[in-house]
Amino acid sequence: MARARRTRAVPPAYLLIAPSVVFMALLLGWPMVSGILQAFVGPDGVTGAYLQRMNSDPAFWSAVRNTLLLIVVLLPLQFLFALVMAFLLQARPKGHALYFYLWAIPLAVSDLAAGLVWLSIFTDRGYLNSVLETLGLGSVSWLSYENYGSMFVAILIAELWRATSLVLVIVISGMQGIPKDYDEAANVFGASYLQRLRHVWLPLLKPSLQVALILRTILAFQTFAVAQALTGQDFPVLVGETYRWYTALQNPHVASAIAMVVMAVSMVTAVIYLKTLRDSTKGAS
């Protein structure tokens, strides 16, 4: 304020970004501050009690494990699928525009709806079991807490279906920005298709892959609705835990503490990605 008064005229650039700064402050900054306050300030002032409470809850650590496991298995699969799909589309088979729209549809489906769709498939009297029974193979309780493996795979498949299209769309838009000269040059110089993928396309797609990776990792830390719809609390995930503490256990402080953990981990990952995957080709020496 004092500074603005000293310089007689506010530079137009600041005026122009002011609305979005206000917007960000209200929508992101304030909830973040109030979240931090809620997580670390109790009735008797600053306290680590809520963090301790979170830490001593066994469900928290299984949520951490589940979330990490999901990320570690899901993300590589997702990127593999998205890349394969993108390169298939790039070969321009008949009807490639249709395939693209088909593959992009999940992008428009809300995660809860996606969870419900897959619930209707995996539930005890769902489509999958009816098919198995028709084939005389008997039915399986895919989503029972006793079958941790099948529960995990069901969530994995649902998440793969739901969120791979985001990666696909980012990769394809990145691809479209790459002139075909590079591929042609590599081709002329004797590079096979696989060599071209490895030495031309993937390196050139790196910026897009980086964006997709950051987005997907952050979003994966927030996986919730699909797991909730498919398994309820049987497969706890981090954001599911904040929800449980907030609603079932009526403790917004611990809920905020978990949310802070998710935020911190997301930020650290994003910074690590940005540092390690930084595009060195344009930097000064």
Partner: protein, 363 residues
């Protein structure tokens, strides 16, 4: 090392009505340096891309070293190419760009390094080997593209305007260097340019192209001295060939003792066998000299512009209504507005059909 045989290549780009190449046939001998020369948009790049396999022809065939490669993918053709757009990989350092083809062919590292160093030295890229293309100037990037092409032991070297972005001095130096390298490695080369000086100085033969067709094919001196039509004459040479409207008189007995040509008021001796009627007389600027008014057959002209070029002086003069370029020694003293008399060297005169522009072969 291989010969290239191009037969009746036709290519129309999708959505286009005009043919980019129209029934082009061309044979390039093993080890020959063939230059494709022509104005912008005449189909040079298209032809080159079909030889490379980057574009499939609608009809016709391409053989390299006796092998039909018309529908073979580029990576199976053992080629090397300089792209008009350079296509230098932005994510690879200069040294890895130059060594790209060798690395793909799994050549041992030490050998790649040796060749990269050789090419970098030749193209004065030594200081930039560890930079990324984004950190280079346009001309430097183009040299990387050339270096990447010449390190390959390819059957055929394709170059699409590889010197277009170099400064005049570098271009002159590198033109000679390129000629030496290509003679040394003896690779069959197809070289695209729209710079006719480059074409004349580099080519074993020149194929002059025009709207998708080869207008003339021949050794540089042939193409320069005997343009097959007014298009080629007007395209090659700096300044281009002069063309004058003239009247031909065949002379007695179909011109056993020679006919005459009338330009304006001047009567010039001409080879025999000419049909009577209008023709276009083509003559190079350096085949015209300024002479005494009394010289027989001298054509009077008015000086319009005087351009001293150092080694010679270029005059733009008017013969009647027609503009003519004349190259005279630098010590000839003429001024604007002065009337001079021109003598046309009879041996250097070429005659063309007034309507089609095609050469009248009288030799």
């Amino acid at each position: 090392m291989a010969e290239i045989t191009i037969q009746n290549l036709v290519k129309t780009y999708p959505g286009q009505t005009e043919r980019a190449t129209d029934d082009v046939s061309l044979h390039v001998d093993d080890g020959e340096f063939m230059v494709l020369l022509g104005p912008s948009g005449c189909g040079k790049t298209t032809l080159l891309r079909m030889v490379a396999g980057l574009e499939l022809p609608d009809a016709g065939s391409v053989h390299i070293g006796g092998r039909d490669v018309t529908y073979l993918p580029p990576n199976k053709r053992n080629l090397s190419m300089v792209f008009q757009s350079y296509a230098v990989f932005p994510h690879r350092r200069v040294r890895h760009n130059i060594g790209f083809g060798l690395a793909m062919a799994k050549v041992p590292k030490a050998e790649i390094e040796k060749k990269v160093a050789w090419a970098a030295d030749l193209l004065q890229l030594g200081p930039y080997l560890d930079r990324y293309p984004a950190q280079l100037s346009g001309g430097q990037r183009q040299r990387v593209a050339v270096a990447r092409a010449i390190v390959m032991d390819a059957d055929v070297l394709l170059m699409d305007e590889p010197l277009s972005n170099l400064d005049a001095l570098l271009r002159l130096g590198f033109r000679a260097e390129l000629k030496r390298i290509v003679e040394q490695i003896g690779t069959t080369t197809l070289y695209v340019t729209h710079d006719q000086v480059e074409a004349l100085s580099l080519g074993d033969r020149i194929a002059v192209m025009r709207t998708g067709q080869v207008a003339q094919l021949g050794r540089p001196i042939e193409v320069y001295d005997h343009p097959s039509d007014t298009f080629v004459g007007g395209f090659i040479g700096s300044p281009p060939m002069n063309f004058l409207d003239a009247m031909a008189h065949g002379g007695v007995d179909g011109g056993v003792d020679g006919g005459t040509i009338t330009v304006g008021d001047a009567k010039l001796p001409a080879p025999g066998g000419l049909p009577d009627g209008p023709v276009r007389l083509g003559i190079r600027a350096e085949a015209i000299s300024v002479v005494d008014a009394h010289t027989e057959g001298a054509v009077p002209a008015m000086v319009d512009v005087v351009e001293p070029l150092g080694a010679a002086t270029l005059l733009t003069v008017r013969v009647g209504e027609q503009e003519v370029k004349v190259q005279v020694p630098p010590d000839v003293n003429v001024r604007n507005g002065q009337t001079v008399h021109l003598s046309l060297t009879p041996r250097a005169m070429r005659l063309y059909d007034a309507e089609t522009g095609l050469g009248l072969d009288l030799r």
